[in-house]
């Protein structure tokens, strides 16, 4: 793997670390989004392995970017956005009811 690719994987793992270590529910959701962004940029970077040009036939150009990873990752962007949206809605309801974003407290007060 090249350095930019490793960087993207690193960002994604950093996001996971955020989900694990942060005690605030909102920061956990942000961590999840960072992770998703890392994954998406990984796909974008890996598609530029074979070249940086738009994959449309141009005279005198032979190095084109791979169109497939870019095409499929659009779905993942949409899914990531959907997850961000609905998790924020749930977090909003939870915070309204229990008056806290601290996960330990939410866990305690959400009941048996």
């Amino acid at each position: 793997m090249t350095i930019p690719e490793i960087g993207c994987v690193f960002i994604a793992l950093l996001g996971l670390l955020g989900v694990v270590l942060s005690r605030s529910l909102l920061m956990k959701i942000v961590g999840l989004d960072v992770m998703n962004t890392g994954v998406i940029s990984f796909f974008v970077v890996l598609s530029s392995r074979s070249g940086n040009n738009v994959p449309i036939l141009i005279e005198g150009v032979s190095a084109y970017a791979h169109p497939v990873p870019q095409a499929v990752i659009v779905t993942a962007i949409v899914i990531g956005f959907a997850i961000l949206a609905i998790s924020l809605v749930y977090a909003m309801i939870l915070v309204q009811r229990l008056r806290s974003v601290d996960t330990e407290r939410l866990e305690r007060e959400s009941g048996e």
Binding site: E5, A12, N36, I83, I86, A91, E107
Partner: protein
Amino acid sequence: MTTFVLYNFCLFLSALLGFSRKLQRPALWGAGIINLIIVTLLWQESGTTKWLLKSGFGVELVIDELSRLFLLTLAVVWFAVAISLENKKQDGFFVFLLLLFLGAGNLLFISNDLFNLYVLLELLTILVFLLAGKTGETKPLWSGMKYLLLVASAMNLYLLGVGMVFLAEGSFGISSITITGVPAGFLIAGLLGKTGLFLFSMWLVDLHSSVSSEISALLSGIAVKTGLYALLRLRPALGNHFEVVPFFAVISAILGVIFAFHEKHYKRILAYSTLSQIGYILIAPETGIFYVFAHGIFKSWLFLGADLLPNYDTGVPSRYRLPIFTWSLVALPALSIAGFPWTVGGSSKEMLIMGTTWWQQPILYAVSVGTAAVFAPFFFSLPKLEWGEIPKNFLGHVLLAFFAFFPLFGWGKKAFESIGILFLGVFAALFAARYRKPLPRILERLENATLLYLILFVLCVVMSIYG
């Protein structure tokens, strides 16, 4: 194959009918019956049908034995849940989600493509999340939140693995790739987080025990099987790397039984038992395929029966004297999961254990005995001598009962062995009853569950480098 895909798009469209109050009921019944008929027709065929959704870099679809089994499980469990829901008042959005669930599940169980699997798994994750929070109580909302945080992280790891595989192989189609090295660890860790193994998916117990019984039945019966399908589908491509999975499965199967045995809350017992049974299937994935169907049937039946009990606390003695009718609706699936011969549970346990190697057999027998011990209080008790009234969701019970007992004709070759296991379980339950006390729920807290998942993910990656 084309027809099947188009049919599922029709299902997605028909989900809109759920919003109409008049058409809700016909839509649920119609989708259930038509789906069951179509899947039964597919079940009659044999052999493998492959299809590439249009040319180069297209989506690979396949219908083979594995797909058929999962499709049948989905059809039966979904229909049973749909017809038991109709007595409760539903709003349109809920029915809409339920119909989407059926279509998405159908499409998932025929896909043979890494990225397509990801999309449909995530779609089902979102649907489960929305279905869980439907009642609006705080506890299901919180457990849904836990589920989403853990599973979405796991699926992101899976997606990283998919990217790495694409880098190495240049394709998403599972039939044409071999997965080696680090990506294997990413894929396995991601899917195990979604599947519901002890240690990996500690969200499961809280989620399955706090939502309404019908949704629990859907979750335990089919939603945990989605990750399982992806894992079993990837097994040939993973090759040697798959050996990590049975290792974790053994831990899950044993710990699940121990926790279930000590638990007193009825739905939590079932949820722990789900963790254990998923491990049970993954210990012997070659022969365990049919057990997926069996588990779907009896676990969703047990969950449907949860509403018949006076309360969920199985420690209260009054619970044991149910009227005959109610008693049988709880005791029969309990017998089936405990491995009573001539039921789907018993015969599929036989099939599972028959083809296994020396190290698997003692573990599988021990887990069988443990499961029998967990469910002994439900069938090894006397009913009150009155008929009781017929429950409202009786039709769902009848449908699941039909599929639980159809092996009456044919299988059940090692009846003595199965009955032996059953009685060993009952004795174990009687003997160990006094040592039952609820175990701590430390591992299920969000902080601990995520940390545990991170550690296991690192372990998976390290194991995939050296294995």
